[in-house]
Amino acid sequence: MSSTEGGAHAHHDDHHHPVDGFMRKYVFSVDHKWIGIQYGMTALIFLLFGFGLMMIMRWSMAYPGVEVPWVGQWLWPDTGGAMPSEAYNQFGAMHGTIMVFLGVVPLAVGAFGNYVVPLQVGAPDMAFPKLNMASFWCYLPGGVIMLASFFLPGGAAQSGWTSYPPLSVTIEATGQTFWLIGMVFLITSSLLGSVNTIVTIVQLRAPGLTWFRLPFFVWTQLVTAFLLLLAFPPLEAAGLMQLSDRVFDTNFFLPQGLMLNGDPLNNVGGGSALLYQHLFWFLAHPEVYVLILPAIGIVGEIIANNTRKPLYGYKTLIYASIFLGFMSFIVWAHHMFMTGMGTSISAFFQTTTMIISIPSVIILTALLLSLWGGSIRLTTPMLFALSFLPMFAIGGLTGLPLGLISSDIHLHDTYYVIGHFHYVVAPGTLMALFGGIYYWFPKMTGRKMSDVLGKLHFWGSFVTLNGVFMPMFIQGLGGVSRRLFDGGEAYAHAEPYLWLNKVMTHSAFLLGAFQVFFIINFFMSIFIGRKVDANPWKATTLEWTDAPSPPVGHGNFEHTPVVYRGPTEYSVPGHDKDFTPQSEPDPAPPEPEPEPEPAEEPAEAPAGAEASAGEEK
């Protein structure tokens, strides 16, 4: 780091220990790259675990009462190895919680955000390295507390990932309390992480990296961080209130005259279960954009790189993302149309929900149009990014009927809902995240992952994911409810759709089998993957052009990069190569040296971006 850049620096004694011990380097590391990898590995393990829970559940849905292969005898010896319904409830609640809060978000935000953002903005690290470490060390205990709850009396949480009262308060299981405590840890972790991300992006951008020269991925991470920062605290409040309902016998969420198993609860009452739902969804709707926005950012990076052409409508994408983030705070009650909260409130949220679909469609369209006229390289990451587009489209469009009150009355709490949001988070986000792993793996390790195994992984996952989730729409339209441990066998109206359970279950097991290719590929490539140079994809952004693969030690860049242009200047006419790095000055005519500190008056930033947009045309 040149010291001129930050002005007169005070001496940071905490960064000058000559020897970094093992603990400092690998366990309590303050290097964003290593923390990113810690996040990534942990999140992948949680994803696998959450998926494992679901495979067992899927078995129970297709073959209710039949011994679960391999693990049944060991888990439930008393039932002859068949999954009991209480276990199904535990697994279901934990599947949702683990996938959302311990799997996808930590991977998308904790891992990719941490690893890539400082590199893409040309920063030596996150703005607060120690907070970054603290963030990981809140996440891991949060996860461990969640997992530990399986071994408590009464088992893990059983009232869904939403933890709706009154069930979540009246239920005996200690795991339900642990769920709340675990959430407090996870919320703290994401609070620390989001402050760090925002400050890093606002403050540590390299000289010349104006707002409209930021890679699109950085923008999505910025919006995501704001969502996490502002949406999680209300859930924290709700969690604390629910904890107090459970532990101190308060009645925040319990109405008077509640009956439990036919007996009056004789509670003081006065509380409202609806209040919890409002607080929960105030978080949980923005949360779905937290799940999707980083994935959109990753797809944007991969598409620009593999079409060798600038993103279509770069600025529109940014404005749409910001608008999306803003709107996501005022649509939450579309999850509550069935609660009887009143028609005018429902009408309001129906309207905002229709409005929020507009920026989503804009984003998708812009990404799709980015393919137009490109010379597409079908690399492994590109396959994943390409598949994201139709999958996200299916997920998004099937959401519209859920946002319209009259159709939601029919579809609410059916498998249609499960199909809808899984298209967004599994074939959508997860595939994009896999694409991101294939894309940035060379940056993290200096080696490429195998394309043969990668393509097997891709096609296998793509086909089987659709095999799992497409039939859910049919079942849901037929009226089959979610959260049924027998897959609907007890209901006459589900009868015609029961065979689909077997299709989905077998697809899920095949999906699991195809992940083996990924796991083998991942670990094999770390050691024997093909060695690559710093910029194997011939990309333009700083992490590829200004740092070796993997970037050196703590500090990332030998010299602070200086940025001269927008993020996706591919195939610029008149240039000798088809990519022009952000840090490459224009050869002729010589540009006046940009000021080392970019002026950031609103008038200034768009001007810089217009210049670069002009070159894109």
Binding site: M1, E5, H9, H12, D125, F128, V199, P234, T250, F252
Partner: protein, 210 residues
């Protein structure tokens, strides 16, 4: 390796990292307390109204009570004064630091801590009085939200006192070596402290008077 703008301001944003960080943190705190205030409104609006002159109403815990009859307004007034003064002394501590007057800085910082502790003592007396009357969080939703909000606010005071005490007892070393950085720390601690004070300014009328 050094993080740019850890101490100095970035020219185009006019902020250093810590200051932006604390503002973002406070924004999330606003959402946290905002959710609790919203819950207060939600619970109160949906509770049956207190009817004056109907003695049974006072017995029904689901009925929202007349708050000023339940809580000690005088003690809370005193606490409000303590916190407002502690905000003033906090600013003074920072100003004296800027004037390079270490002794006075310590005096004001110490006063801030003292006032915060006085606030906690009064709060403890209030809580004790309620407990001895058998008014627990489980007694009614009014008490539940009262204890939750004041309890969470109290935790913020405790956190603030811990940081202030750290700066009070161990600040000298950094002041000698990196005065700029130390002044920055006092400033952002002050921002946090004013926020905690402000929360109380809202809590007081909402819980005690309205």
């Amino acid at each position: 390796m050094q993080i740019p703008y850890a101490v100095t301001e970035r020219p185009d944003t006019g902020l250093n990292n810590a200051k932006l960080g604390i503002w973002l943190f406070l924004a999330s705190e606003v959402m946290l307390f905002g959710a609790l205030f919203s819950s207060y409104i939600f619970l109160r609006v949906s509770a049956p109204e207190w009817e004056m002159g109907v003695p049974e109403a006072a017995q029904n815990p689901a009925v929202w009570p007349l708050q000023f009859q339940k809580l000690k307004v005088a003690l809370a007034c005193l606490n409000t004064v303590f916190l407002i003064f502690s905000s003033v002394t906090m600013v003074m501590a920072w100003a004296e630091l800027k004037r390079n007057n270490w002794a006075k800085h310590k005096l004001y910082l110490g006063l801030t801590i003292g006032l915060a502790l006085a606030f906690m003592v009064i709060k403890a007396i209030e809580y004790g009085g309620k407990f001895s009357h058998g008014d627990f969080p489980s007694t009614s939703n009014f008490y539940a939200i009262y204890y939750t909000m004041t309890g969470l606010h109290g935790l913020h005071i405790v956190g603030g006192v811990a940081v202030l005490a750290y700066l009070f007892f161990f600040g000298k070393k950094m002041w000698n070596t990196e005065p700029e950085r130390f002044a920055g720390r006092i400033e952002i601690t002050g921002l946090y402290w004013h926020f905690v004070d402000l929360v109380w300014i809202f809590l007081f009328p909402v819980l005690y008077l309205l």
